[in-house]
């Protein structure tokens, strides 16, 4: 199992329920995330993964239940969180570097520090060459990297990622997953990573939550206690993959 048992709790989800009219999407969801943990959430399409992240970042209100961050009601104005959306969300009128800087600007990071982080992060994700292009001048995968960089640059202590690499080709995906792990270790942030790609989840996460179909609750949790860098052909890796695949056969 991961680390020492008494890790501090970062996020606590208590009896979370969400209805859209008569449609019950999340049904009494309970779990918690430790400080600095890398948690992956896998679930079938339409089960409410995006809805959950939207609740967590207060973009929409919950029907019942609570989400606590550091013991208080989740709120982007007080908690330092960042969100990488499933859809590209860069601002079309800002250049790549302005987009990456935008999050820091809103969070009030001082100019010198902004400049420093901006340069280092553009280098890391390989966007330095197109820093002055606008979003409609770059490819979809680059745009997604912009969104990731914008989130990372704010030094969030809670990073929410909603199938961030779903649109990207496999090679770039591996590359960005490694970048993500690097940043995670450097920043010590808590990461909640939503995906429907099982291998991706096992590759990056310390723990995986498997969700049921709608109405959704937590079906199982699986600890991934493998050394890094992980390998897809490693026996233990394949073992865990079989375990998860068994859990989701009924999707």
């Amino acid at each position: 199992m991961t680390g020492p048992p008494a890790r501090e709790v970062k996020v606590e989800v208590v009896g979370l329920t969400k209805k859209f009219g008569d449609l019950l999407v999340l049904n009494d969801v309970n779990f918690s995330v430790a400080k600095g943990e890398f948690l992956a959430i896998v679930g079938p399409t339409g089960c409410g993964k995006t809805t959950f992240l939207n609740l967590l970042s207060k973009l929409i209100p919950a029907s019942e239940g609570q989400i606590l961050i550091d013991g208080s009601e989740a709120d982007p104005k007080t908690h330092n969180l960042a969100f990488v959306f499933q859809e590209p969300s860069s601002l079309p009128w800002l250049t790549v570097s302005q987009n990456v800087e935008f999050g820091m600007l809103i969070k009030g990071v001082p100019p010198g520090e902004r400049e420093r982080r901006l340069r280092s992060i553009l280098d890391i994700v390989g966007l330095a060459d197109c820093a002055n292009l606008f979003p409609n001048q770059i490819s979809a995968s680059m745009e997604q990297r912009v969104a990731v960089s914008r989130a990372f640059a704010t030094n969030p202590d809670l990073l929410l990622m909603d199938e961030p690499y779903g649109q990207l080709d496999v090679k770039l995906r591996f590359y960005l997953e490694d970048e993500l792990l690097k940043l995670w270790r450097e920043l010590g942030a808590t990461v909640i990573f939503v995906t429907h790609n099982i291998e991706e989840a096992i590759y990056v996460a310390e723990r995986i939550l498997v969700l049921t179909n709608k109405p959704t609750s937590v079906k199982a949790e699986i600890h991934v206690d493998l050394p890094r860098p992980r390998s897809f052909i490693d026996e233990a890796f394949i073992d865990i993959r079989r375990q998860v695949t068994d859990l989701i056969r009924w999707w």
């Binding site: 939207n54 970042s57 207060k58 973009l59 982007p76 104005k77 007080t78 908690h79 330092n80 969180l81 960042a82 969100f83 959306f85 859809e87 969300s89 860069s90 601002l91 079309p92 009128w93 800002l94 250049t95 935008f102 999050g103 809103i106 969070k107 292009l133 606008f134 979003p135 409609n136 001048q137 490819s139 704010t154 929410l160």
Partner: protein
């Protein structure tokens, strides 16, 4: 090896060059060739119908119109030459457009941002919107006289409507995902408005101003046709009272060219104020 492979294609290319069908095909691929064909076709048809038909008394040839253009450009017509009249019209347009958009844009923004203002203004606006601006002319003359004010009033009404509609829609139709993106960063209302709402709505707002300006240009002509002592509309009426169709057509040509130039200038301005709308070849 490479050269040997390339050689035959070059020769073939040269041969294709020589055949008349190939030359034609090449010419047709160049759109400017067709533009030229189109314009000269119009001029030819115009010329022959002007020469051959019974109405030719009132249908001057293109050449006559060109000569007339030269004449009115240098001659005093009721106190002004051609450029003087053009400036009279443009001057009215600029004032009316400035007033119309100075009222329309902020009102549209406030309506989009505040539902009480929206509900208060919308019913009245919906009544005004479908009225052709020129239908105000008689009232405008009674209220303001036949001087500048009545014309400026018509133009301002004409410019006001698209300015309001487009700034309203520009704000209302901002992609909600952009709001999500800034809200999860913890932005307050003011930041959201300044960093997302306005920049995102700006292109639509600007498009509205472009429409306003072209509406203003047709309004000034309509107003001048009804009553004026200067301006392009007045020149056309002058041509009619003097039974000089060349003068009427010259006026129409100048009006069209001016409208075209306004569009060109505005699309240049748009590239300058919204550089992010311009796509680079990948």
């Amino acid at each position: 090896m490479n050269a040997a492979l390339e050689h035959p294609t070059t020769v073939q290319g040269l041969q294709r060059h020589k055949s008349p069908a190939a030359i034609l095909r090449r010419l047709l691929k160049n759109r400017y060739v067709l533009y030229l064909v189109s314009i000269s076709g119009l001029l030819l048809i115009w010329h022959f119908s002007a020469v051959n038909f019974a109405t030719s008394k009132y249908m001057p040839t293109p050449w006559m119109v060109l000569k007339e253009l030269w004449r009115i450009a240098h001659e005093n017509l009721a106190g002004k030459d051609l450029l003087g009249h053009l400036w009279s019209s443009l001057h009215r347009v600029l004032i009316g457009f400035a007033i119309g958009s100075a009222v329309g844009v902020p009102l549209g923004l406030f309506m989009a941002l505040n539902r009480y203002i929206n509900n208060l203004v919308k019913p009245v606006f919906d009544l005004i919107k479908p009225m052709p601006p020129i239908s105000w002319i008689s009232l405008a003359i009674l209220w303001f006289g036949i001087g500048e004010e009545s014309k400026v009033f018509i133009i301002a009404i004409g410019a006001f409507v698209p300015a309001l509609i487009n700034s309203y829609n520009g704000i209302r139709l901002v992609d909600p995902a952009l709001y999500d993106a800034i809200r999860m960063l913890g932005a307050n209302r003011w930041q959201t408005m300044m960093e997302v709402t306005f920049p995102a709505g700006f292109p639509a707002l600007f498009a509205g101003l472009q429409i306003s300006l072209s509406v203003a240009w047709s309004c000034v002509l309509a107003a001048e046709l009804v009553s004026a002592r200067s301006g392009m509309g007045f020149l056309i009426i002058l041509g009619m009272t003097m039974s000089n169709p060349s003068m009427i057509l010259s006026g129409m040509v100048v009006i069209a060219v001016t409208a075209y130039l306004i569009t060109v200038v505005l699309s240049k301005v748009e590239k300058w104020v919204c550089p992010w709308k311009v796509e680079l070849p990948q």
